[in-house]
């Protein structure tokens, strides 16, 4: 666990433990690309956004709130550099060797994104250009063309962000050493007292895995996911057989229908679990790429679910 993570998650928890005035802890699990940032600042941003959302429905967060912000941004970045998995852009620019398993993963994720975003084969072919097309299995240039087409025609998430996102999800879901290290950080922020867990983007994947595998008697009043890629088959199938996380009393999933990372709802067709996940697909995420956390937590419906679960 990084020093920053310790500072962010444990110091607040200790304070809470001493007085123990808080009935429910709020655990915030961030997504990718948070390396080098200050977890205290990040936590403040999340809470401030949530307060804005609460204000829209004339409610407010409890004045004293036990908050944990398990920060794994630097740890994930450290692993990403250590594994040095080449992105398709690297393959073109640096002549790196193709990691066929990662390429397959990217191809599957990209194609699902493309399909759901309504991007046509013609639009992908346009990005592929007039290169000779090998009549064989998947190749990196085609995958890259799909991602460029998504970049151009859907949501505003840049090619680089999509590729980085895929790499980080791939690292977390395929490398036990990465998964264990991040799970340790996030799991350490949850204890056997009642809590509400909010997971954003990759954080929703991490939160799901922690809640599915933790053997303690956790009491999760609600699991709230926003901008979650869990229903993308290539991601979902990493966790087969999927099931509702036993410690959670409820699971609420919110997404912007134009967020390319979260195009698929966690519903019976894409993420069949029992009881079913409550999906909310009317978020209008105001961030540039329709995926940022500050465009989710200020949504009135998201805020209402968090507040209800906190008993506020």
């Amino acid at each position: 666990m990084s020093g920053a993570a310790v500072a962010a998650s444990v110091s607040v928890a200790e304070k809470a433990h001493a007085a123990d005035p808080f009935p429910v802890r709020l655990v915030l699990v961030h997504g990718r690309s948070q390396q080098g940032l200050n977890p205290v600042d990040l936590q403040s941003t999340w809470l401030e956004t949530l307060r804005r959302g609460a204000a829209k429905i004339n409610r407010s967060l409890p004045e004293r709130l036990d908050v944990a912000f398990p920060y794994y941004g630097d740890k994930l970045d450290e692993f990403a550099r250590k594994f040095d998995i080449p992105l398709t852009t690297d393959i073109q620019a640096k002549g790196s060797e193709v990691n066929s398993d990662f390429l397959n993963f990217q191809a599957e994720v990209a194609d699902e994104m493309r399909s759901r975003a309504g991007i046509t084969d013609s639009q992908v072919q346009e990005e592929f250009g007039t290169n000779p097309t090998p009549k064989g299995p998947q190749n990196w240039a085609w995958v890259q063309a799909i991602i460029r087409a998504i970049d151009k025609h859907a949501g505003g998430v840049s090619q680089r962000v999509i590729e980085d996102f895929m790499r980080d999800v791939y690292l977390y879901t395929t490398q036990p050493i990465v998964r264990d290290a991040i799970d340790d950080i996030v799991g350490g922020a949850v204890n056997e007292k009642p809590c509400v867990v909010i997971g954003h983007s990759l954080g929703s994947v991490v939160g799901y895995h922690v809640l599915r595998t933790d053997r303690r008697a956790l009491k999760v009043q609600a699991y709230v996911t926003v901008g979650s890629p869990l229903a993308i088959r290539a991601v979902r199938d990493r966790f087969r057989p999927i099931a509702f996380p036993a410690p959670a009393k409820a699971w609420y999933n919110a997404f912007d229908p134009k967020d390319v990372v979260a195009l698929y709802p966690l519903d019976a067709a894409n993420f069949p679990v029992n009881p079913a996940v409550e999906n909310y697909g009317n978020v209008r995420n105001a961030t540039d790429n329709r995926h940022g956390i500050i465009g989710y937590l200020d949504d009135p419906d998201v805020a209402r679910h968090v507040l209800d679960a906190l008993g506020a």
Binding site: T173, T174, F239, R240, P241, P272
Partner: protein, 625 residues
Amino acid sequence: MRRRDVLVGGLAWAHLIASRSARAQATAPVTRGAVIVGVNKTGHLPVLRAAVSAAKSVADWLDREQFKVVAILDDAAPVTANAVRQAVTDFVNQPSLTQLVVYFSGHGMSVGFNEYWLLSGAPDDPNEAVSLVECFELAHMSGIPNVVFISDACRSTSPDFNTSLIRGTLIFPNRPAAPGGGQTDVDRFLATGPGAASFEARVAADNYQAIYTTTFLDAFAHPNGEMVQTIGPDNVVPNYKLRDFLSKEVPRRLAKIDVKYVQYPDTRIESRDNIYIGHALNAAEPAPAVPPQPNATVLDVANYHIDRSSIGALSSIRKFDVKVLDQVALDSGFESAQKSVLKVQAVPKSNDPHQLNPVPADVRTGFSISGSKLRAALATGGARAEIISPGNGRDVPAVVRVLPPGPAVTVGLMFEDGSGTVVAALPEFIGTVTVEGGHVASVTYLPNVGTDLWHEYQDGQEQRLNELHALVATAAKYGVFRIEGAKEDKQKAGARLADKIRVLKSVDPTLGVYAAYAYADSDLIGQVQSVRSYVRGDLNVDLFDLALLANVLSGKPIDGRGDVVPFCPMLTQGWQLLRVKGVSLPAQVERARDDMRDALWTTFGPRGMELVFSAIQSTRGRNNG
């Protein structure tokens, strides 16, 4: 499970059977699924009377056990491979599935160590069959925690029609397992042993029963106390508890109907002891005061001898009087097969020219062939394979020298009748090839005089290794060189085997190949990779079979010029894995497959051997003729 679809010839007739709780089914994710196939009539083969009824019984039972069941039966229309594949694929695509049962009742057969379920259109249509061994492999990659195959079908070879073109269909999707994903345990309940028949029999005037299926269902209807386990609130019969029951009950019940027939089930369990298909439907019956004496099989013979060898037990041992086992070994041919391999192995004693030795001391790399005269030998690339002596097919072996003595190359050996084999010539090893009745029964690599390994063999290892070669080759021939048991037991047995196939810091190549197949069959992929790594370190090339089993050949060009030797599997059972592991052979070698014989080691008929020689020739360039 609340809904049962009945597919007749691929059409859903869900309305035929009322759904018990269709409303609940519509929303609840599917966690347990079953595909039930029953085929009474296959092509022109004898029409069965109880395959469909047995399938219906299983479907009803699983329906009550809350499985979602898709039954595909031929009582109204032919059963197609496409319908079976679609049903299985639909279940594999369910991310919440924790267990999948695939049941088949109908005609089956074995061809070259692969096994097939024959559907309505077989054997005329070679695709209207299910390639079982390949499906075991694909099931391991399905991501479903437990896949159970129940096969009530024959596993015998069929001389009645041309089987060489049958490849069968893969009913599981070809989807590589997600790295980091969960593991799949594949449990196999096969009605009968390798090469043997499964029976349906008349039990009343107009009542035929599939003996195995009936017994299988009775394990849940009338379990004895030893079989029932309490898991949570449920009394269940775990998968691993079925093995002993089936192995005792099936032959006993068949013998009660007609003592002339025998049928010994073959059960392979990978799942842990808390995995089960069904509940104990009635209170457990006390175990009989005098338990029925199980019949000894070739598997018991092999397990007994492996246990007594330096390897030690690789599976649980059933206790039998040694005389009983000796009789089974004699009757089945196990003993004579073992002796024939043992007889032809001879490590060169020294380079003393006066010593009687079939292989001259100046042959550093080559082969000695017993059981057939040799007509021709050809090596890939720039190597030469010289016939020193063609042998006489009886007591004088043929001898081949490969020059230069390294690196390893592919060599084709054509026997007197035009049939032959393809083997790897390994530097400083003499390969001893044993031919029996036109089939290659064994290939054993022994170190040449003066090498470090040779000194080790001279230092007391020879007898041990010779005996192991013979025992393991014979067990493999009978399909019973296996590592079985709970996961931890298999890991331990696998590690022990790994220890025993090593000589000095190397791995005995012969035992390495056999062991790798046993590891792969038991899903011990780490051990396969270890063996491959050792052998590759010693020989500076990959042996085809080891690389294949270690999953490193997919997409790699195999042309006889690279660092994989030989250019095809040496053991026949490797051929059945080529498709699922994504491996392509040179075109002529692929075509030669249509003329393969049913032998332990790859053996081609004359037509196939011509193609193989042509493939070797193409690696040699114009001037090497």
